[in-house]
Amino acid sequence: MAEDKIKVATSDGGILEVDLYIAKQWQPVKLIYEVLDSTNVPENPIDLDAISTETLKKIIEWSNHHKQDEADSADNSENDRNHGEISPWDKTFFNIKQEMIFEIIVAADHLGMTELLDMGCKTVANMIKGKTPEEVRQTFNIPNDLPPLQTAQPITSNENQ
């Protein structure tokens, strides 16, 4: 079977060619194939609304690298969600601008790519861990809209003990 490719359209007017194998893992594409009930490659590019070209390219890059994981994960009996470390490759992959990480996460959610979504969320969580509220606000540029008066919290950490 030759390398089937399929065309997809992005939100900023770009058209990309993607391996069918990768594209079929995406929710919108899966739906189209189910609805059309045909194994032929559709003529017109599939519209991936609200995912930019740059984001989609990154997603394809990730999919290409992790193609191998599908085969390897047969022996993965335990799924330790919180202890699974982010692999070195993934760390490098996510070493990009914040906005891009968020775009990727949202796109992964939209496309139904749970592993990429998990990795992205873990990456962002790591950006939050260990920071004080002020540090978090600075990292993500979040304005403080809380009332200045803080009443005693019923649950507090035990860090002041």
């Binding site: 939100s11 609200a50 919180n82 202890h83 470390e85 692999s87 070195p88 760390k91 914040q98 906005e99 968020f102 775009e103 996460i105 949202v106 959610d109 979504l117 998990d118 969320c121 873990k122 962002v124 969580a125 790591n126 939050i128 861990k129 260990g130 920071k131 004080t132 509220p133 978090v136 606000r137 993500f140 540029n141 979040i142 304005p143 403080n144 809209d145 809380l146 803080q150 005693a152 919290q153 019923p154 649950i155 507090t156 950490s157 035990n158 860090e159 003990q161």
Partner: protein, 543 residues
């Protein structure tokens, strides 16, 4: 602008709106504000996507919750102080499925009981599945709330260990009734009957019962031993128990085991670690009545378990496949007899068993009792020679997931470099001998070769502990090459425990430079064990 009220009901949706409006994000273009869908922020943000630079707070709620789900609760509490949106999110009950409230066990510290009680219904509510309560929070109010507001609560820990006095529970008339697992930490000084008698009738759904004794708090009881909880009364109400863990309880003896055996016919796993009064007279009946028993843990029951009683039990017709007799005093004769009759074992732990000799291991191998073995602990067995262990590993190493064999001073790196070749699938490995000066280890150990061997053969390695002291180890100048190898090849390695010293520092800095922190630890703070390979490990965990 009108003051928005902070309400506990559906805080998240309310705050999404506030946050968006605060930053001038128009919620919709040409659409009514009434046309809002509180449950799913997705629609709005999709429309926003094309016109707004993506920032954290504009991510869909589901995604934000996913990010937050990777944060420990301590961090979550800090997040509540970042902004209103985050405060709302951090209180979302989906993030509070498991709640740990014992500060001495990495939990949160609740300072105000009155403010805490309403939180149960508002924040934890239907999502709550697991909660640990310290003594101060074990009150009728709290338990009533849990019973009424948290129908999905399955795992409850009640820690009475610091209690000096029992509250008055006469007004306790509700208790979570769908519990699957209950863990009670006993107190040294108080009798729990005043509490227990109010809850017996709610325990019928229990499948896992853990009662944690006071062994870690007090020394061997010279004084009177008090039966602070009534095992028989519990047993009457809990016919569905599959797993019972009685840990370090001084008053437990064979009578209790007999009682349990007569009621809990579905018992699959029975742990009596550190219950030092057990002699074994009840084992015969235990095996006879509990036909589904697969796992029996008798670690450190001390010198009390006697040969005769072990021999009297009918092992041949039992289903026992996981056995732990660490630090018991059973003789070689007894073990030979018992093991000859035992079914095939998947888990065997015999550290500190003087009776476990070459002959015993040979018998186990020859009679095929270890043909399904997954995890084995042969540490500190003074009468077991390493040659037999080498034979065992050659024969069964391929199927091993965990091995612990430390404490034999005659074992060299040669032994291990050979053995490791046969253990391609191993996940947990504990080797070496500490206290080298005391055990008079004559030759030094070339650690590089062991690391290299692991790197080559054991890509599934997750936990490795090497107990040789600094003084016993020898490593080359180019040792970092071997450390690199193991670090790169063993990607699943998440714990490498070494004896404190120069070599430990060397390895640790190597891993840290490669951004794999927390992997390398010292033996003073960490201990590796094969215990996690038990089938019922998750049910047996506490503290």
């Amino acid at each position: 602008m009108e003051l928005r009220r902070f309400t506990m009901s559906n805080p998240t949706a309310a705050f999404s709106i506030i946050a968006h409006e605060a930053w001038g994000h128009r919620l919709s273009v040409g659409e009514n504000d009434d046309d809002t869908n509180f449950g799913d922020g997705h629609n709005k943000t999709q429309r926003l996507r094309n016109r707004i630079k993506r920032d954290f707070n504009s991510l869909p709620e589901k995604v934000l919750l996913s990010v937050f789900s990777y944060l420990p609760h301590l961090q979550l509490l800090r997040c509540a102080r970042v902004c209103r949106l985050w405060r709302g999110l951090s209180q979302n009950s989906k993030l509070w499925k498991q709640v740990f409230l014992r500060p001495e066990h990495h939990g949160l510290h609740v300072k105000n009981l009155d403010q805490f009680v309403p939180l149960i219904g508002h924040r934890f509510a239907l999502s709550l599945q697991f909660i640990e309560l310290p003594m101060e929070l074990i009150t009728s109010d709290v338990l009533h709330e849990l019973a009424n507001k948290c129908p999905n609560l399955k795992y409850l820990t009640l820690d009475f260990s610091t209690a000096m006095q029992l509250h008055d529970f006469n007004d306790l008339n509700m208790f979570p009734c769908n519990l699957k697992a209950l863990c009670i930490c006993l107190s040294e000084v108080i009798f729990l009957e005043g509490f227990m008698r109010r809850i017996y009738t709610y325990l019928s759904s229990l499948e896992v019962l853990q009662i944690i004794g006071t062994i870690e708090k007090s020394t061997e009881a010279e004084e009177e031993v008090y039966e602070t909880i009534n095992i028989s009364k519990i047993k009457v109400q809990t016919p569905n128990l599959r797993v019972i863990n009685l840990y370090g309880i001084f008053f437990i003896d064979d009578n209790h085991i007999e009682t349990i055996a007569s009621g809990c016919i579905h018992l699959e796993c029975f742990a009596l670690n550190f219950c030092t009064r057990v002699k074994g007279t009840s084992f015969k009946n235990l095996l006879q009545r509990c036909r589904k028993l697969q796992c029996l843990l008798l670690q450190n029951t001390g010198t009390s378990i006697e040969d005769n009683y072990m021999l009297a039990a009918d092992w041949a017709t039992s289903s026992v496949s996981e056995l732990d007799i660490s630090s018991t005093d059973l003789s070689e004769q007894c073990l030979l007899d018992v093991f000859a009759r035992m079914p095939k074992l998947t888990y065997l732990a015999v550290p500190n068993c003087d009776g476990f000799t070459d002959q015993v291991l040979d018998l186990l191998i020859d009679q095929g009792k270890l043909s399904h073995i997954r995890a084995i602990d042969l540490s500190d067995t003074v009468n077991l020679n390493f040659e037999v262990v080498a034979t065992f590993i050659k024969r069964h190493g391929r199927q091993l997931r965990g091995i612990s064999y430390y404490g034999n001073p005659k074992v060299s790196e040669q032994f291990w470099t050979n053995a490791i070749k046969n253990m391609k699938n191993v996940k947990i490995v504990v080797i070496g001998t500490s206290f080298g000066w005391f055990k008079k280890i004559s030759t030094r150990i070339h650690i590089d070769q062991i690391l290299e061997s692991c790197a080559q053969e054991c890509q599934n390695l997750e936990r490795l502990e090497i107990q040789w002291d600094q003084e016993t180890l020898r490593w080359n100048e180019n040792s970092s090459k071997f450390i690199d190898h193991i670090r790169i090849r063993c990607v699943k390695l998440n714990s490498l425990v070494l004896s404190d010293g120069e070599y430990y520092e060397l390895v640790r800095s190597n891993f840290e430079r490669a951004d794999r922190q927390r992997v390398v630890r010292t033996a003073t703070s960490d201990q590796t064990s094969i215990v996690s390979l038990l089938k019922y490990y998750n049910d047996l965990r506490f503290n």
